[in-house]
């Protein structure tokens, strides 16, 4: 039974991390899928969200500024707002750049953001990062939570201790995964509603044909910044959840562009850009492949070294990690060439059916 519990918990962790990546992918979908903005600096917004959340919610610390111990939802809300604010500033100056210029500019800005987090040691603890970041649910079993409002209204600290002791040590895991899935669901619902509303139609119009949209009275620059900011806010929220999941963030390796920015792009392209369900599917699928490929490659090395007994398995093992990266790269190429629209290609919302329509009333059109 123990083993099944293990598999269950691993599944939960796949859902947790997959869910966090789904949030990033949904944010990118607003920017790229809806508005056609090539943001290659995802990692910058994620880092802003994660750091703001971490600084606001951790307990007071000598390592970094503050540790303000704010309630978790407040930290998450401010993380979102900060990411949005920074995206707004970037948008004001960069939004008119053409696709790959915007990509290069955003990569550069994301790197500068990371450098600031890395070098402003007094504020962020520099390269050593911030740890003890509170995680939803798990941290309610921490003294500073159950001894203060609102938890202290419900029961005394002693009762809380007894209550948490009676739970298995993984009690928070399904709750945390559930919270993330709920967040994904809410964002999905909101984006779907936005997409199928006139807002989504307008965004598609701007993406499809800019001069015509201007002539149709759309303030293209403002709308693009709007999409950029909304996407960044979602990424900032994802960043806050990412920080909760990791519980330690540091600027160099946590926010490695090839593992955040690139992976999220692979997810969105694989799932289908412009399609919210595609973004979510892509995120879970690619993360599962990414995570499980380690087990897979370890298994393959066992098999290979069993068959070719002369081969030194340790050499294979030291290089297995690189094969994983290669696998993702190749997968990306295959998807790009074979499924240019992704697994779930973009579907425009059904336009209201004309009663008089004779032919071509397919309901949904691509």
């Amino acid at each position: 039974m123990e083993a099944y519990l293990g598999y269950f918990l691993y599944l939960l962790s796949l859902l947790t991390v997959g869910g966090i990546y789904a949030i990033f992918a949904l944010g990118l979908n607003v920017q790229w899928g809806f508005a056609g903005l090539f943001n290659a600096g995802i990692v910058g917004f994620v880092a802003v969200g994660a750091y703001v959340y971490a600084l606001l919610t951790t307990a007071e610390s000598t390592f970094h500024i503050g540790g303000f111990g704010l309630p978790l939802p407040v930290g998450m809300a401010i993380a979102m707002a900060m990411a949005a604010l920074i995206a707004g500033l970037i948008g004001l100056v960069c939004i008119r750049l053409r696709s790959d210029y915007l990509a290069i500019a955003t990569i550069g800005i994301a790197e500068i953001i990371k450098l600031i987090f890395k070098n402003e040691t007094d504020i962020t603890n520099g390269p050593r990062g911030i740890n003890k970041i509170p995680r939803a649910w798990e941290h309610f079993s921490e003294e500073r939570f159950y001894s203060s409002a609102p938890m202290s209204w419900i029961a005394t600290p002693e009762q809380w201790v007894a209550f948490f002791d009676s739970l298995p040590n993984w009690y928070w895991q399904p709750l945390f995964a559930g919270t993330i899935l709920l967040v994904v669901f809410i964002i999905y619902k909101m984006l779907e509603r936005a997409r199928t509303s006139p807002w989504g139609r307008m965004m598609t119009a701007i993406r499809e044909n800019e001069p015509a949209s201007r002539a149709a009275g759309k303030d293209v620059t403002k709308r693009r910044i709007e999409a950029f900011v909304i996407g960044a806010a979602i990424m900032g929220l994802g960043g806050a959840l990412f920080a909760q999941h990791l519980r330690l963030i540091e600027p160099t390796n946590t926010f490695d562009p090839s593992k955040v920015t690139f992976l999220v792009w692979v997810m969105l392209i694989a799932g289908g850009s412009g399609n919210n369900r595609g973004a979510i599917l892509g995120a879970f699928l690619i993360w599962t492949i990414w995570s499980a490929s380690e087990l897979l490659i370890a298994g393959m090395i066992d098999v290979i070294s069993a068959v070719f007994s002369t081969l030194d398995p340790s050499i294979l093992a030291t290089r297995a990690g690189f094969l994983r990266m290669m696998l993702i790269g190749i997968l990306m190429q295959v998807i790009l060439q074979r499924y240019p629209g992704g697994i779930l290609p973009e579907v425009r919302p059904a336009s209201p059916k004309a009663e008089k329509t004779v032919a071509g009333a397919t309901g949904e059109t691509k």
Partner: protein, 258 residues
């Protein structure tokens, strides 16, 4: 007539680097008129249009719409003031249906604010119903009802042109700038485009300013013709006057009598 000028252009110039594309253009468009803008290639017609429509800021000069100085205002602002334009090459939204193409162009859409799309669903739906109604009527008027659900990218060149005109109808436009409505359209459909322009002019009182190379079409539609050559107004007058003017024949028709 001059009392009721809706659009006037005064001393408009535009230089790109060292090149002066437009050098001092003046003309006026009266309410309810159809004005043709003609001239040889490179005469500065489209540049003038782009300046009026707010795509390009003029180097010098003044543009007045309904008595208000609109020089250098953006295209999307002018839309709300009743000035609309079409494009020489059709700018349809290829991956949206014809109906949606029209709906995009409707004004005052509550649902275009993301907040109302999330939190004011009722109002959004109400306005959306009106917009659909308007778009359907427009399709009927254009004779495009049968392709309402078709992706705009799949329409023929002429149908796309009609759609362009249809977009101007979604916003009750006061002045419409048409950039070569006849380009790349077969003669039958061209006639229909012409009919439509006349009908809009008469029934709805739209004022038109048209760039067109097809002289027959201009002759049929325009009350007044402004001839541009080398960035300047060569002359203005009725089509007959223009046709018989020596200077025009020299500059435009290259000496050949049409």
């Amino acid at each position: 007539m001059a009392m009721d000028t809706v659009l006037s252009v005064a001393g408009l110039t535009k230089s790109f680097g060292g090149l002066q594309a437009v050098r001092g253009v003046d003309f006026e468009v009266e309410r309810g008129a159809i004005v043709g803008l003609i001239g040889p290639n490179g005469a500065g017609k489209t540049t003038t249009f782009n300046m009026i429509a707010g795509e390009l800021p003029p180097t010098t000069g003044k543009i007045t719409l309904l008595g208000e100085d609109i020089t250098g205002q953006r295209t999307d602002t002018l839309y709300h003031k009743g000035l609309m334009r079409t494009f020489q090459l059709s700018h349809e939204y290829a991956r949206m249906t014809s109906l949606e193409n029209l709906m995009v162009a409707a004004p005052d859409q509550t649902g275009e604010s993301i907040w109302s799309s999330w939190f004011a669903n009722g109002r959004v739906k109400q306005r959306e119903a009106e917009v659909i109604e308007l778009a359907r009527d427009t399709l009927d008027f254009l004779g495009l009802t049968h392709v309402g659900e078709e992706l705009a990218g799949n329409l023929s060149g002429g149908q796309k042109k009609l759609l362009e005109i249809g977009r101007t109808m979604m916003n009750d436009a006061k002045v419409v700038l048409l950039d070569e409505p006849g380009a790349g359209v077969n003669p039958t459909l061209m006639r229909k485009v012409g009919d439509m322009i006349l009908q809009l002019n008469e029934e709805r009182g739209y004022t038109f300013c048209i760039i067109e190379h097809d002289m027959d079409m201009i002759a049929r539609l325009a009350d007044k013709v402004v001839v541009l050559a080398e960035g300047q107004v060569l002359m203005e007058g009725t089509m007959d006057e223009v046709r018989s003017d020596e200077r025009v024949i020299d500059a435009y028709f290259g000496g050949e009598v049409v």
